[in-house]
Amino acid sequence: MTPRRQRMVGTGLVMAGVALAAVLALRAFQENLMFFYSPTDVIAGSAAEGTRFRLGGLVIDGSLRRETGSMEVRFDVTDTENTMTVVYAGVLPDLFREGQGVIANGYLQADGSFRADEVLAKHDEEYMPPEVARMLEERGHPVGSGTAAIEK
């Protein structure tokens, strides 16, 4: 083996070793790398009652309710299979819409609802002018549903 070949193989081995280590490490931390859980994950018991975690899903159309006389809002979040109610008091981000994806940070309450102290809006990767969106809408293609952002 020429020295150059040796160096080439050596470099290759280092890269393979690092890649393998990375794959193993990422597999081990798979759970922690998930930024949020879906309602189905929660119902399956991935998140314990009382502990803090993030809940992600789509806000169901027409589910947003404001409590009169307080800052508190309630809305239902779904992953199309299961649904959970989120209770939140605070400022909602600009992209918060019914039908859009959100990620709420908080904990499960005894009544099964999710008490959030932070709500983030998750948007999808689609960008288009308003006219195009309206046109698609008229032709029966729902846009901005955010499903692409949630369903992986």
Partner: protein
């Protein structure tokens, strides 16, 4: 072709070629970035969801793109330097690091500025944002490691190993949005056959990306010239290249 390649491998040729190309590349880059900025800020329509806020994409996405492509260049040059013992490859790697770090910084900060109004937060520790932050630290580590050696050859080899090891982070950044649940959305432009963005919004973005790439090559050219001069400081051609700065008595001596 081969003679051309060999000439590129000779320091005085590379020094002269880079000197000739740098101003041209820089001007073309500036024009493209100006056109892309105009297209992005004025000509492109507002987004149906984010309104004018989405225009941050025109600086954020090209910066993020460059943060990764410059790293690819840096790591490839490092590997070539290690395997073929090519000094100029090390010079390219060393000259790339500060530019790459600055684009990574830009991607992170413009991303935060975009995230605040749209997501509702400047920063979250999701897989995409965290892996991009790690990229910035790898760039810093690379530059710090180089600075720790007084001998250029030792700095070259040690930092090259770091650059190659750090490559593992690139697929993690790219696929983080697919492999894990993240706040960051999946990629818009890499699906070139079917990008999720309308044409009148896409073209300024592509112009910006080309402009940023040329900008990097222009800065790289100037930085490689400095690197080559420093590395070859005792070579006769360096004396000739510095002729205009040397005192008159040199000619008579």
């Amino acid at each position: 072709m081969w003679t051309w390649f060999h000439k590129l491998g000779s320091p005085p040729h590379l020094y002269r070629l880079a000197g000739k190309l740098a101003p041209w590349l820089l001007w073309i880059a500036i024009v493209l970035i100006a056109v892309g900025t105009y297209g992005g800020l004025v000509l492109a329509p507002p987004d149906y969801q984010q309104g004018d806020g989405f225009r941050i994409i025109y600086v954020h996405a090209p910066s993020a793109w460059m943060s990764m492509s410059i790293y690819t260049v840096m790591a490839t040059a490092s590997a070539i330097g290690l395997i073929w013992r090519m000094k100029l490859a090390f010079a390219v790697a060393a000259a790339s690091a500060p530019v790459g770090a600055s684009f990574t910084f830009l991607a992170l900060v413009t991303g935060a500025i975009w995230g605040q109004p749209m997501w509702g937060t400047w920063w979250v520790w999701d897989a995409r944002l965290t892996s991009e932050l790690i990229l910035l630290f790898v760039y810093f580590g690379y530059m710090g490691l180089r600075a720790a050696f007084s001998e250029v050859q030792k700095a070259d080899r040690a930092s090259a190993v770091l650059a190659i090891v750090g490559v593992v982070n690139l697929p993690i950044i790219h696929y983080s949005v697919v492999w894990w649940n993240t706040l960051h959305q999946v990629s818009t432009v890499t699906k070139l056959d079917n990008p999720s963005i309308s044409m009148d919004m896409l073209w300024p973005l592509l112009v910006m990306i080309v402009g940023f790439n040329l900008f990097y090559i222009a800065i790289l050219a100037t930085r490689v010239r400095s690197e080559v001069l420093g590395r070859e400081r005792n070579a006769r051609w360096v004396g000739e290249a510095l002729d205009d700065l040397l005192p008159e008595n040199r000619v008579t001596a």
